[in-house]
């Protein structure tokens, strides 16, 4: 029993040891991306898996964070730490403003509203002229640093990201085992009954929305510092779909789901990029996309509750 209880943690630690052993910038890079996506999908997981509200616009918050950090450091020469804080704060404020209206919508209508918001924001990035650099984006973003501590190598940035992921996951664990976590689940299951238990559903949904936007913004800011260059393309509608995909593939309403989802989706496309040319010598990129799509469809057919339910089929609230 005890081993089963900690098996998730053990597997996660073993996986994290891989880049430290490999010491290659490519592997660090992959895990940094997985870490950044995990941060976003953790927030999205609270919104979708717990509160039951779908968003197809989270790439916009991711992008808002990225552009905020990029603009403040390159155009206004802020130092990275306050710029990152702004990259967290601004998406949260925007989420608070739009969430008040959009969260009154339900299910498909909410998905459509967030989708529209996402498209709107990506147009702003592309057409922002001087400020956003238009389609060619912003380059020359400095490395992240806190005081004299600079995260200029991939190894140190990897450690920073995963430190944040671990801290976030402890917070999420606290949240889902709290009165607030139960209230979020209650909203997902029945808003009528939740209201009658004294839960202010619209307020709590808004808080979950702000929380998820804030995390996406943080990931965006960190992403900008990591790649030192941003353009509109990583923040398009396609990215929003990817985030939802990661949340669903990993398993909605589960503790390990977001981490597993981010890891599988990122690593799967990397693996396919390596493996498919070996199997089909003249294959172009489209083969990768087709096979990638097929694998995801098969996963959803045979594991509709997400991959994390492989270990724990009954409990929908994560590890007990």
């Amino acid at each position: 029993m005890r081993i089963k209880k900690y098996s998730g943690l053990l597997i996660a630690l073993l996986l994290l040891a891989i880049p430290l052993i490999a010491q290659s910038n490519y592997v660090y890079g992959l895990f940094i991306v997985v870490g950044l996506y995990t941060i976003i999908v953790q927030g999205l997981g609270i919104l979708m898996g717990y509160a039951g509200q779908v968003s197809f616009g989270h790439a916009a918050f991711f992008g808002l964070g990225g552009y905020t950090a990029a603009i403040l450091t390159t155009r206004f020469s802020w130092s990275p730490l306050p710029a990152l804080l702004a990259a967290v704060f601004l998406p949260a404020v925007i989420a608070a403003v739009i969430g008040r209206q959009t969260l009154k919508l339900r299910e498909l209508y909410l998905a459509l509203a967030t989708l529209g918001f996402g498209i709107l924001v990506s147009i702003v990035f592309a057409e922002g002229g001087e400020l956003t650099g238009g389609p060619s984006g912003i380059s020359g973003i400095p490395h992240f640093q806190i005081g004299s501590l600079s995260f200029d190598s991939d190894g140190s940035f990897f450690l920073l990201i995963w430190l944040l992921v671990v801290m976030l996951m402890i917070g999420i664990k606290n949240l889902i085992h709290s009165r607030t976590g139960r209230a979020l689940c209650a909203i997902r299951e029945s808003e009528y009954a939740a209201e009658n238990a004294g839960i202010d559903c619209s307020r709590l949904k808004l808080q979950a929305f702000i929380f998820s936007a804030l995390l996406a913004g943080m990931a965006g800011g960190l992403y900008a510092f990591y790649v030192s260059f941003i353009s509109p393309s990583p923040f398009s509608f396609h990215a929003s779909v990817q985030f939802v995909l990661m949340a669903v593939i990993g398993g909605l309403g589960t503790f390990w789901g977001p981490l597993i989802g981010a890891m599988v989706v990122v690593l799967l496309s990397e693996v396919l990029k390596e493996v498919i040319p070996l199997i089909i010598p003249n294959a172009g990129g489209e083969y990768q996309i087709i096979i990638y799509g097929m694998i995801l469809v098969i996963l959803m057919i045979y594991q509709p509750q997400g991959l994390s339910s492989l270990r724990n089929r009954i409990s929908l609230r994560g590890l007990k």
């Binding site: 606290n174 209650a186 299951e189 238990a197």
Partner: protein
């Protein structure tokens, strides 16, 4: 007097679902609402819990109007209900259902929940213990760890009642708690309702099962086409000619 309705009217389109309804629910008593389907009983529950607003009339809780209050605010004021068509939190365990019902007993908001380590949380422990006591009382203790969706229908009804009680309500509204229960299950339920009454919980009960109503209620309100056609003690209602006519057709007596 805990709850007072005066001249309450609610229209849906052109149809009056509830028309000029007035009654009072006294503290510590069980009030039963009876009447044929479509008489406006559940609409009254929706009005009392703030899910709907009356077009006319006043609903007062402890002497204060509830106008403009939402269901979650009324829940904080002590009004809670169960649902005729069950609204169980299906994917949560039975214990979690009841613990979610105890939401109002805790204080931690979103941020504080994030930052306080879950294993050490006193509030969490308190809520868990109180919920376990309720499960014990309703005879659900053995099912505590099971997903609520796996319970048989009768036990789901009890989960709803335990969940509603978890918030320590001063007024509990039960919408057809015995519907769909077999006679054994409904006896357990009647028993529990009586136990709650003895403890001083004020209840309003919508019920079709006359045996449950006559055994549990202190006062009965009879509704027909949205209007109160009679109110009184069970004995008075049984003898009331209007009721017999509306409810059972003529030439019959209520059991």
């Amino acid at each position: 007097m805990l709850l007072q309705l005066d001249g309450v009217t609610k229209h849906f389109g052109g149809i009056a679902a509830v028309r000029n309804v007035g009654f009072e629910a006294d503290e510590g008593k069980v009030l039963a609402l009876i009447g044929p389907n479509g008489a406006g009983k559940t609409t009254l529950f929706n009005l009392i819990t703030g899910a709907l607003e009356p077009d006319q009339g006043v609903i007062a809780l402890k002497g204060q109007t509830i106008k403009g209050l939402k269901p979650f605010q009324l829940a904080a004021g002590g009004v809670t209900r169960t649902f005729q068509n069950l609204q169980i939190f299906n994917s949560m365990t039975v214990l979690e259902n009841v613990m979610a019902g105890a939401y109002l007993r805790g204080k931690k908001g979103f941020l504080r929940s994030l930052f306080s380590y879950h294993g050490w949380c006193k509030e969490e422990k308190m809520i868990r213990e109180k919920s376990l006591v309720l499960l014990e009382e309703t005879g659900l203790a053995e099912t505590a760890g099971r997903p609520a969706s796996t319970l048989p229908f009768g036990q789901k009804r009890l989960v709803e009642i335990a969940r509603a009680l978890a918030s320590d309500p001063c007024l509990l509204l039960l919408d057809e708690p015995a519907a769909g229960l077999n006679s054994e299950e409904s006896a357990v339920l009647t028993n529990y309702i009586n136990k709650l009454r003895d403890r001083g919980t004020t209840m309003i009960l919508i019920e079709h099962d006359m045996e449950t109503v006559m055994n549990a209620a202190d006062k009965i309100i009879v509704l027909n086409f949205g209007e109160v056609i009679a109110q009184g003690t069970p004995a008075e209602i049984q003898a009331h000619p209007e009721v017999i006519k509306a409810y059972l057709g003529e030439d019959e007596k209520i059991a």
